[in-house]
């Protein structure tokens, strides 16, 4: 097991008005797994990802990655760990407005003080791969939301993280861009054995995963393993969504 999450919980707010975002969740993720986390809005997907990626501390429970209990580390060490092993695609992109596309993408490499040649090589490779070479000199506020999402993905992937966290990565993409991104994620997942944790409420996106866990109201509701056929997996996911109920929460428009 690469990632072991043991009985974590998280509350927001003060006593009387507290929101129990995560109640009691335990998950185990294998090295090289592509795990989907599904659930309606407000189910706690983002919170769960944030805690596993050490961006937030859980109130209770343990998060063990490669045998190391991350909840015991200092903020500083957590940041270092995060920077070296993890990549992030956030729901809200988290791009830096004052930098252009290229600078945003190469930022993780620059932070690790990689040499300039490597930076250029990786950058060109990434841009070609995601088919966004023409964007490299643009400013962030000149991009569409979908373009921002892809740029954010490029940044997350450029330093070949061992674990990639993706929070609704296709949320604002058109289906073509979404497919490109998902294919790429699947590829690095298979070729480089990158572990991927992806939160989504979209069944089509989730169908790229090797396993999907469903959470609702801060607890794990059930899980489905990919049987090896994406269409069949997609059906299963849709069915599970119906079972959980409240179809109006869900967005199933992007099937093809």
């Amino acid at each position: 097991m690469q990632i072991v999450v043991k009985n974590i919980s998280k509350d927001f707010g003060k006593k009387r008005t507290a929101v129990h975002a995560i109640k009691d969740i335990s998950v185990e993720v294998d090295q090289g797994e592509f795990l989907g986390i599904m659930g309606p809005s407000g189910a706690g997907k983002t919170t769960l990802l944030n805690m596993i990626s050490t961006n937030e501390r859980p109130d209770h429970g343990q998060i063990i990655i490669d045998g190391l209990d991350l909840t015991q580390l200092h903020d500083r060490d957590q940041a270092k760990y995060r920077r070296n092993k993890m990549g992030f695609i956030y729901q809200s992109f988290e791009l830096l407005d004052s930098l252009n596309v290229k600078e945003n993408v190469i930022l993780p490499l620059a932070l690790n003080r990689s040499n300039k040649k490597l930076i250029e090589e990786r950058f060109i490779y990434m841009m070609q791969l995601l088919n966004i070479e023409n964007l490299s000199a643009r400013a962030i506020d000149e991009l569409s939301l979908g373009q921002r999402q892809i740029v954010a993905a490029a940044r997350a992937l450029i330093n070949r993280p061992e674990i990639l966290f993706a929070d609704e990565p296709t949320g604002s993409l058109d289906s073509k861009s979404a497919t490109i991104l998902l294919n790429y994620m699947q590829m690095i997942n298979q070729k480089e054995k990158t572990t991927i944790l992806m939160a989504t409420h979209d069944a089509f996106t989730a169908s790229y995963c090797s396993r999907v866990v469903f959470i609702k109201d801060g607890v794990i509701f059930s899980e489905i393993v990919n049987p090896g056929n994406r269409d069949k997996f997609f059906e299963q996911i849709i069915n599970m969504q119906r079972t959980i109920g409240g179809g109006d929460y869900f967005n199933v428009s992007q099937n093809n």
Binding site: K80, E94, L107
Partner: protein, 666 residues
Amino acid sequence: MYRKIIKRSLSNMRDSYLIYILACSFAIGIFGILLSMGDNPSVHSALSWWDDFIYDITTIMSSIFAFFAFIYMIYVGGFFVKQQRNEFLTFEKLGMPRWAIITISFLQTAIVQAVAWVIGLSVMLVFQKFMGMLLFYLMQIRFNFVMHIGLKSFGLLVDVFLISTLVLSLINAIKTMRILQKRQRRTIIKTRWWLRIPAGIFGVILLLTAQIVTLYLFKDMRIISYSSKPLTEIVYIMGADIFGTYLVYFGFLPTILNIMERIHSVSYSGINLFSFKYMKERLFQNISILWFVTELSALALALLTFCYFGYQAVHQNYNSAYPFELAANKDTVKVIRKELKKNHAQIKGSYKTAVKINLVSYYSKSSQSYIRQPMTFMSYSDYESLPKRMHKNNAKINSHEFLKIDYNSSLMYNSDIDEHNIEVKGAPMIRTAEQGNSFPYGSSMHFGPMMIVPDNYYEKMPSEVKDTFYGWDFKKGDRLKHSQMKKLENYRDAYYMKVEFESSLSKSTIEVMKKEPNKYEAATYTQAGFLRQGNLKKHFKQGGGFYLFIVALFSVALLVALGSVLTLRILLRDDYQSSQLRTLQKIGVEESEIKGIIRCENTLTFLIPIVFALIQSFAAIAMFDFGRHISKNIILIYAGYIVLYGLFGIISFKVSWRGIKQKFKL
């Protein structure tokens, strides 16, 4: 609902408002103290000699102070409105009527102002006594300062509070209205490198030439009385410094950051990729404020320099005019001793020195004419045995050199050119004499210049008149009463010397007369009988203390204003700027690195103005410290200023980092 909105936005900008309120209440406190000092009864009874003067000065000073404080409040109050631009625009989008938003802005200002006044007035109450005692201490008055606020001052304070709060709130409401009318969210600053690069280079050239001209000014300042060159230089330096600094801020500094950003081996390493851009953006936003602070700091330093050297010059001039509390000559010494004995005056030190008066003639370089006059001669060893303060401001001489002590025509500019070829009646010609302005026994004891000569020269030289000077220092003043002074008034002039100048010095003579000649002839000189300066000395010290008090108060106030402006500029980041720092943290940048960016931003914001201000105040030293070496005290004064200013920098860094960390925790 409005109450909630106001409460929330006040608490959102808590730190910034706190600093603003503290700065304002400091200003209000000082204003109140100055105002109430004018009609304080203990000031009046302690300083009866100064009479209405203190009242006038404090009134004028407090109005000047209030005026600048008000400008500060208008200016800085605008920061807050600007900060809330997005919030106000969102309110409008949510359908809140315009007048309601404007009312919110108005009320917010009014509340902040009211809080500042409440704190400021309490500061005034608490510190009035302290400041009063400080004033008395500086004026060397032993008197208890009684806390007091006159009804008049209090009424005035309330009036000022009401009017200023109303006006400020209205101004901010109008600013809010203009924001709502304009609507645009983020103003994008144009880079315009084609303009910035040449402007920056020109700015650097201006600053450099200003410094070179300053070096010349050090040399040329002494000729200011008869040449327009120094004045031209000063005008050039001021212009070049002020505009050069602006151009450097506008063009040169951003260009440097830009170049560093372009050098990928530097910028593609670590957090630099972000921080260079961030700094550049912040610099662009703050150019005029940095410039403003720089020029005001330079002005403050120049004023401090001026005040220091002005004070020094007056002090020195005063000390050379009245070195003893009481001085007399051989004709008056008996009477004065008798009067002193009657009073049991405690004598701390008494001195006497024999002098010879003789005729001299020489060509004076400073007045460019031949001069024939009587001169007082004193021997070197007598001169050296007098207290040190009598000769420490004169040129140093050794036992075989001559020193000519003469009146100083100008308060500040010493003409330290040696005098040559002075003919003395019946004695060898004096080839060279050093120059000095500090008379032993005080300049008013003499009718003309004085010459310190080697002992054997003094022994051998003939004299037209022989005299002896006496001087006393006392423990608690000479205690001479009014009636005694009236009696002594008759001895004010000891004797008169009528000089008959003939074709040569050896034929010319001095006739001593006890009675004042009926009509003054050109060549009649008066020898003073006595000189009493104890009282004047006290007033002089008091005046000096008062002056010190005001100068210190104003410079601290200016420092607080400048420091708080910079701090607020740093604290009031645009929303998107602080969210960028949060993003950095999310993508795995260590907290220490983000802290480094904040520290760097702080350091630059505080360092740049003070460095450029120091460069500029160099010219002020050249202007007032003509020719002398840069004195130790002025360096101390500057260092004090920098330390206090640096303290603001540190506080600002701490507060700024705290604010960002709070946002991280959200």
